[in-house]
């Protein structure tokens, strides 16, 4: 069980997180909030990378800060797209497992399993520097779960993944939650969090706005238009197809970057429909994301 009691972190005059109190049980919990909301700071406090300015973070009653043995039970996938890029995917995961004090043979076995589980078996012997963004996300997830931790903290794990990658990663996260592990997944995309769990903590400006079931928040958000950005190979074709639907309020496209931004007032239907349209129109979607300002607007709307 993860507990935060009056947890606060400030950097000089800047407040990272402010007086957060909550308890997380096994299963998947989503930290939802726009960029700069304090999600990453909160995850870094819960993984012992930062010391709380006030209050405490505990796991099963043990303080997290300066407690290396407790870290054996924790897996962490950072948000930053940062690696030792000369390493192959397999070497990277293996090295991270070895740093948990696991012996060579066992570490190799676990790294293989994790790489396969994250869908990176084919690319495991390529250097990370040559990976696509989606592959880098997958290998980060692999290193987080390779040592078989009870508790996983995943900071924006689906960022930059293609639809198939997202689907696979979400299935993996849900499966781990069902297996009794405690997973904390941060995201600024409601749709993503909703697909993995119905338990969320809504965070903005370092404060906890709401905690618990997602449906009430979903009802409020549904009345507010959302933006979705897509990078694909046939921008014109996809734009034309998307505009056939009533819920698509506008589409802005940028041919040079092969990118379009869609505004929809029924995000659920939009996300369900998109893979089908792409398949029918033979469009390859490279990545899909919701701009941060989008959720910021929703939060402003919710707070009002």
């Amino acid at each position: 069980m993860i507990e935060a009691a009056g947890l606060s972190k400030w950097y000089g005059q800047v407040i990272g997180v402010n007086n957060l109190t909550f308890t997380l049980k096994p299963g998947v919990t989503g930290f939802l909030g726009p960029n700069g909301a304090g999600k990453t700071t909160l995850l870094r406090l819960l993984t012992g990378q930062l010391r709380a300015s006030q209050g405490s973070a505990r796991i099963d009653g043990e303080k997290v800060w300066n407690n290396p043995p407790l870290l054996r039970r924790i897996g962490y996938c950072p948000e930053a797209d940062a690696f030792w890029r000369y390493l192959t995917g397999r070497d990277f995961v293996y090295s991270m497992v070895r740093m948990h004090g696991i012996a060579h043979e066992e570490a190799r076995k676990r790294a293989e399993e994790a790489v396969e589980r994250a869908g990176m078996k084919e690319a495991r012997d390529k250097r990370i520097g040559g990976y696509s963004k989606g592959m880098r996300q997958r290998i980060k997830i692999a290193q987080a779960l390779a040592h078989d931790p009870d508790i996983l903290f995943l900071d924006e794990p689906l960022n930059g993944m293609d639809p198939m990658g997202r689907h696979e990663a979400m299935s993996l996260i849900k499966d781990l939650g069902k297996a009794g592990k405690t997973l904390v997944v941060s995201s600024h995309v409601l749709h993503e969090v909703e697909a993995m769990t119905d338990t969320i903590l809504l965070i903005n400006h370092g404060r906890l706005l709401a905690e618990g079931n997602i449906y009430e928040i979903r009802r409020l958000i549904d009345t507010h238009p959302l933006q979705v950005s897509i990078r694909c190979d046939k921008v014109n074709v996809l734009t034309a197809r998307l505009l056939e639907y009533e819920d698509v309020l506008s589409v802005q496209f940028d041919r040079e970057r092969n990118q379009l931004t869609v505004e929809t007032n029924r995000p659920d239907e939009f996300h369900d429909r998109l893979p089908r349209i792409a398949l029918e129109s033979d469009v390859t979607i490279d990545s899909l994301w919701s701009p941060d300002e989008n959720l910021e607007a929703v939060f402003d709307y919710l707070v009002r």
Binding site: P68, L71, M99
Partner: protein, 265 residues
């Protein structure tokens, strides 16, 4: 700790900085080759190429290559992980931060030591071997003593610059100012201020040191005015080891207390 050290050595070898330092290590080797080519004119003036080795060791290695390698490798020990934003991967492993820092420092020292050792061994071989194996063998003791002094200095400097790297945003600049400003100037001052430099203790241990110092007329003059005592070799070794331990401890302390906001890097 063994795996960590191997991991960090591999990381060090892969960095472009190490490659450049390795290339820089060829500079004294090139100079030695030039000296060897002009050995006949030198011999006519009564200078044996092999006899220049301690002078090269003093000027090019003790006062140039060794501190420079230490500045660049040492200052990157923690700073590189912060800049590369790979530090979180290390901080969430069940490794005490002290072990993390010591592994980094040891790996950095070993990498630098290999660069220096290859370079100075090549210089020694180029200068001594043409005189015959017995010349090379005869100078081996001196070579090993110089190498030992350099490795001892490297440990102290690497730990010091590692601490600067954990503390400061621009550690390389501060390191270069310290090395080529404070250390190079103050160590030759008469009086007791030189005791506050690292290089003073290395001078104490360096063979033929008195010979190099006596040629500086200003130093001789000032030494006449301000009398100072030297440092015994055993004490110098003790102080260098203690400085290495203190600076490594400082690096540990910084990593344990300082919080890096990686989003601002």
């Amino acid at each position: 700790m063994g795996f960590l050290i191997k991991f960090f050595i591999r990381d060090g070898i892969q960095s472009r900085r190490t490659l450049w330092l390795g290339i820089l290590g060829l500079f004294p080797v090139g100079l030695a080759l030039i000296l060897r080519l002009f050995s006949s004119p030198l011999a006519r003036q009564g200078i044996e190429a092999a006899a220049l080795f301690p002078r090269i060791g003093f000027l090019l290695f003790l006062h140039f290559l060794m501190p420079l390698v230490a500045v660049f490798i040492g200052s990157g020990l923690i700073a590189d992980e912060v800049e590369g934003r790979t530090l979180p991967y290390l901080l969430v492993r069940p490794i005490p931060r002290a072990v993390l820092v010591m592994s980094k420092a040891l790996a950095g020292w070993l990498t630098s030591a290999v660069i220096l050792a290859i370079s100075i061994a090549a210089v020694h071989a180029i200068l001594a071997l043409p005189g015959g194996l017995d010349v090379w063998w005869g100078d081996l003791g001196e070579f090993l003593r110089i190498l030992g002094v350099l490795l001892l200095g490297l440990a102290a400097y690497t730990a010091f610059f590692g601490m600067l790297g954990a503390l400061l945003k621009h550690p390389v600049l501060a390191g270069l100012l310290f090395t080529f400003g404070w250390e190079n100037m103050v160590s030759f001052f008469p009086g007791n201020v030189k005791f506050f430099t690292i290089v003073h203790y290395l001078h104490t241990l360096f063979p033929h040191m008195r010979q190099f110092q006596s040629q500086n007329i200003q130093t001789q003059l000032l030494s006449f005015i301000i009398k100072t005592r030297g440092t015994a070799p055993a004490l110098a070794i003790g102080i260098l080891v203690a400085l290495t331990a203190v600076f490594t401890g400082g690096m540990v302390l910084v990593l344990m207390t300082r919080e890096y906001r990686l989003d601002e890097v």
